[in-house]
Every structure is written in C-alpha cells, then in structure tokens.
C-alpha cells in the first residue's frame, strides 16, 4: 500500500469515527491541549474523559428536550396552525444541533469551527497594531452555543459550504464577531468597573455598547436604581432552578390547557394514562423541560470546564497585555443587587408585551420566554444603563430589549426554520445582529460572508480613529469622570 492510499484510509477512518462522534473530537482536543500545557498524562486522560462524557450528557439533554417538545409542537400546528419556539440559547443549541444532524452534517465540524474561531481571535489580537483589537473571547459555553447557531446559519443559507471550506468560513466569521464585539465593550466595562481589566464576552456585546451610547440621553446617572426597593419575593428568581421551572410551568401549562385534556390524551397515549389527572400531567410534563434543560446544562458545564481551562492556559502564555472577555455576570458585582432583578423584571414585561402582540396580530410563530435571555441579557443591559443613565434608562432599555428579543427571535426562528425543532438562540445579539447577517448570507451567498467579516473588521478601525487618546486606546484605562 503506498503512502497516499494509507493516508486516504486513515482519513476515512478519522472522518467516520471521530468527526461523526464530536465527543471524541473534543475530548481529543482537550487531551492535546493539556499535553501541550505540560500537564501529567493522568490529568490529560481525565480531561479527555470528562470532556467526552460531558458532551454525551449534553446529547442526552438535547435529545430529551426535542422529544418532549415534539408532540406539543405538533399539537399547536395541528389545531391552530401555529409554531412555537423557546428563545433560549440551550433550547436553541438543541434545535440547531438537531437541524445540523438532519442536514447530514456532523457536529464535529462545528467544534472544529470553534477552534478556528478561537485561534483567529488570538491572531487578531497579536496583530493589534493593525487590527486595533484588544480582547480575547474566553466564555466557553457561549462559544459553543454561538458556534453551533452560526454553523446552522451558514449550512442553511449556503448548502455548498457543508464541508471543510464551510468550517473555515464559520470559524473566521465567529472569531471576528468574538474579537470585534468584545472589543466594543472595553470602554463601557472599564468605566463600570473602575478599570477591573476585563471586557464582556457574552451574548449581548453589541447591546452593551449601544446601551452605553443611548443611556446618557435617556436618563440621569445620578438617579440610580439603588434606592428602589423591590418586593422580596422577586429574589427567588435569582435561583435558576426556580426561575426556569416557573417559566416552563406558566408557558407550557397555558399551552397544554389551551390544547385541552382530550387532545393531550389523544396525542400522548404512553405518557398520559387514563388514571393520571390533567393537572398532575401538566406539572410533570412542564417540569420535564426543566429536567432535560438541567441535564443539558450539567453536560455542557462538565466539558466546558475542561475547554476553558486549556483555553486559559493558551492565552495566558500568548497574550500579555490584552483583556479577557468574560461572562456578563462578572459585571453584576459592580452594580447593586436590585439592578440585576430590576432589569430582569423590565425585560420580562417587554417580552410579555411583545408575546401578546404576536398573538393579537396572528403571528404564525409563537415565542416562549426562556430563562437565559430574559434574565442575563436584560440584567446586563440594566447594569450598564443604570451606570450611564440611571433608573430611567435601566427601566426603558431592558423593556425595549425584551420586545426586540421576542420579535427578532420570532423572525429568526421562522426565517432560519428552527421553529421545526422548537428553539432559537434568543439572546439579543442573536435576535438582531446575527439574523441580519444570516439574511445577507442567504441572499449573497459566499460574498455575503466576506462582506460581513470585512464590515466587522472596520468597526475597531473606526473606534481607534475616533478615540482622542491613542495611547489610552491600547492601555484600556478609562476614568469614570463625566466629561
């Protein structure tokens, strides 16, 4: 057997065994990462194992969510010609994963795109003299969600990219977004935290920047949310288990009540025996969404912990003097606790108003509130709005964000056909900025991808060009004093 034939056999084996089993691909990457960081072999093996098992747990959760949802979606469609989608990154993850699999592409490609994006972000920072990028996106679980949704947008819009070229395309695209948009949050984050030296690397980076620009025009930063007393029971929504369970119970409870007992008995014969009463059926069905969500969450947590650790090791070695872009919740320590809840409440009101609007105007897509966007996006918007525009801004901006989340999420779930699997990413940048990107991909194909990447790369150039103090731009030290 000559060399080329051996290579082909090897490649085929790799493709059939590793790429179609993304858990081993990710596990292998973690193993190599740990070895490169000179960790002992037993620790590297443990990393491989935990990453692989974590990803398999994630698969169980995602499958459970989609399967529990299917009869309810079918029922809504059958009785009211209505489709539904939960706007939440984990429901979106499960839906996009399913769609990618149904299209015949492996999730292994998505993970490869994630790695390309991560290294592209690092390269952009290494070349910061030219690119003006100062931040590395390090939020592992968000990178997984965003890489998966971005993969689906590309695979959906440009089917000829369902291959290695597509992986590079997605990697460059998502890596540019991570670099450019986290770079936009440097100034607001540094002003909020008194130069704590981190930027936001999450799902609402565009809106953090927008909020810091709009808030001063909306309200007065002197009149802070701090002095507002919120009712004590709202505190319970800080507990993610309670918040998720409540949301699922309210939304799915109402949907099942509307579909009615006889109908549910008809479509779910196995899960709804004659001896079981309707209220208990509703309770158990609604809570099973929470159950699968937590299974999915714990799987993602397990393997992201390994991934983040090796990413950190790599960036600590490579990039001295750049800022890490981290989870939005890191900013919450710099605001009063009621700012976070205040944003959640105003955003939830915005979402509920918009959902009522969808129903009144007979939208073919119904939106179900998911915990992550309604809580974390709106809390983050409120934290920055309060800093730059006081309580008036902290009320109005999350309310508007809530409306955009629902309307944008409904349009996106419809346009990109993920309503078929009952979920959309649902965080605010993914309800506004990314759907616009997706429409460009769909209509312009590959040139659309190039246009989006180039336009994003222009943003930091404009930022640099407009900054008054060029040295300050790279030192990232911003004073808090109003001009």
């Amino acid at each position: 057997m000559d060399f080329y034939a051996a290579f082909e056999v090897g490649f085929k084996w790799f493709h059939n065994n590793i790429m179609t089993k993304p858990e081993f691909f990710i596990g292998g990457l973690v193993f190599i990462g740990y070895m490169l960081l000179r960790k002992p072999i037993y620790e590297s093996f443990a990393g491989f194992l935990k990453a692989s098992v974590g990803m398999m747990i994630w698969g169980v959760g995602a499958g459970g969510l989609v399967n529990t949802f299917r009869p309810i979606l079918a029922g809504l469609n059958d009785r009211f010609h209505l489709n539904a989608a939960v706007i939440d990154p984990y429901f979106g993850l499960a839906a996009a994963q399913k769609a990618i699999e149904v299209a015949g592409v492996s999730l292994g490609w998505t993970m490869m795109a994630l790695i390309v994006g991560f290294f592209w972000n690092i390269l952009l920072v290494l070349l910061r003299r030219f690119t003006k990028i100062r931040t590395v996106f390090l939020t592992g679980h968000v990178m997984i969600q965003q890489a998966t949704t971005a993969s689906w947008l590309i695979f959906f819009a440009i089917p000829q990219l369902q291959n290695t070229n597509g992986v590079i395309c997605i990697g460059l695209l998502i890596g540019t977004y991570w670099a450019v948009f986290s770079n936009l949050t440097v100034e607001p984050a540094q002003k909020l935290t008194g130069n704590a030296d981190f930027a936001v690397g999450h799902q609402q980076m565009g809106w953090v920047w927008l909020t810091s620009k709009i808030a001063p025009k909306v309200g007065d930063p002197e009149k802070s949310v701090e002095n507002i007393n919120l009712p004590r029971w709202l505190q319970m929504f800080n507990d993610n288990v309670v918040a998720t369970g409540t949301l699922m119970l309210v939304f799915f409870g109402i949907i099942m009540l509307i579909l009615g007992e006889p109908y549910m008995r008809g479509i779910d014969k196995a899960g709804f025996p004659a001896t079981l009463s309707f209220p208990i059926y509703i309770l158990s069905k609604s809570f099973s969404f929470a159950v699968y969500l937590f299974i999915l969450l714990s799987g993602v947590r397990m393997f992201v912990a390994e991934l983040t650790e090796s990413f950190r090791g790599i960036t600590d070695k490579l990039l001295h003097g750049s800022l890490p872009a981290v989870d939005c919740a890191v900013t919450y320590g710099f605001a009063s606790p009621n700012t976070v809840l205040f944003g959640f409440v105003c955003g939830a009101l915005g979402q509920f108003t918009a959902i009522a609007g969808l129903l009144v105007f007979n939208s073919p897509i119904m939106i179900i509130t998911g915990f992550v966007p309604v809580f974390f996006d709106n809390a983050t918007v409120a934290v920055f709005a309060n800093k730059f525009g006081g309580r008036r801004a902290a009320a109005i901006l999350p309310f508007c964000t809530g409306i955009f989340q629902v309307v944008g999420g409904a349009l996106a779930a419809w346009y990109f056909e993920l309503y078929k699997y009952g979920g959309w990413h649902g965080n605010i940048d993914w309800d506004t900025i990314w759907p616009i990107f997706g429409v460009l991909f769909k209509n312009l194909a590959i040139p659309g991808v190039v246009v989006v990447i180039v336009l994003m790369l222009v943003i930091p150039q404009l930022q640099y060009w407009r900054s008054k103090d060029k040295e300050q731009y790279f030192s990232c030290q911003y004073s808090d004093e109003p001009k």
Partner: protein, 94 residues
C-alpha cells in the same frame, strides 16, 4: 481538606472564573482544597456540605446557612486575586 464551592447565576461562566482564580490563590497560600462550581440554585441546597461558598456580592443574600461550618464570601471583582486573597485572610480560612 477544605471543601469549597463557587456559585453564579446559571453555574456556567462566572463560577468557573471564580473557581480558577481561587485555585490560584489557594496554591499561593499553600491551602489544599477541592473546589466545585455550580449554579446558585444548586449551591443553596448543597452549601451546608461545604466549608466556604464563593459568589458574586450581588448573590450573597441567597445563602442562609445555619451552621458554624460554612462561610459565605461575596466578591465584588471575581477576577481580582488580591480581593480573593484579602477575603480569605480576613475570614481566617485555612
């Protein structure tokens, strides 16, 4: 060995960051500890089985622990090793 848990809203991002930072500080102070990270909802029920709970200062009133074992420490800047170190010393954790 000290049992420590880092908690945040959903148990995904920030608690992982806290965990990595306290690991570093413990190493520096020569304290051996096993550190888990999880969401506030989970950590509330598990808190009594830990010696120390670390979380963002905005979540500190979520924890009501009625024993003399568990200490709850709220952090302003999750990324600041100085703050973590100061609070470990201040709370006399060994």
């Amino acid at each position: 060995m000290l049992k420590v848990v880092a908690a945040c809203g959903n148990g995904m991002g920030s608690s992982q960051i806290i965990k990595m930072k306290i690991e570093k500080v413990f190493k520096k102070l020569n304290i051996t500890a096993s550190i888990d990270h999880m969401s506030v909802g989970e950590a509330k029920t598990a808190a009594a089985n830990y010696d120390v709970v670390f979380c963002s200062i905005s979540l500190i009133n979520q924890f009501v622990v009625k024993n003399n074992r568990t200490k709850v420490i709220g952090l302003v800047n999750l990324l600041s090793e100085q703050e973590i170190e100061a609070k470990i010393v201040e709370n006399d954790i060994k």
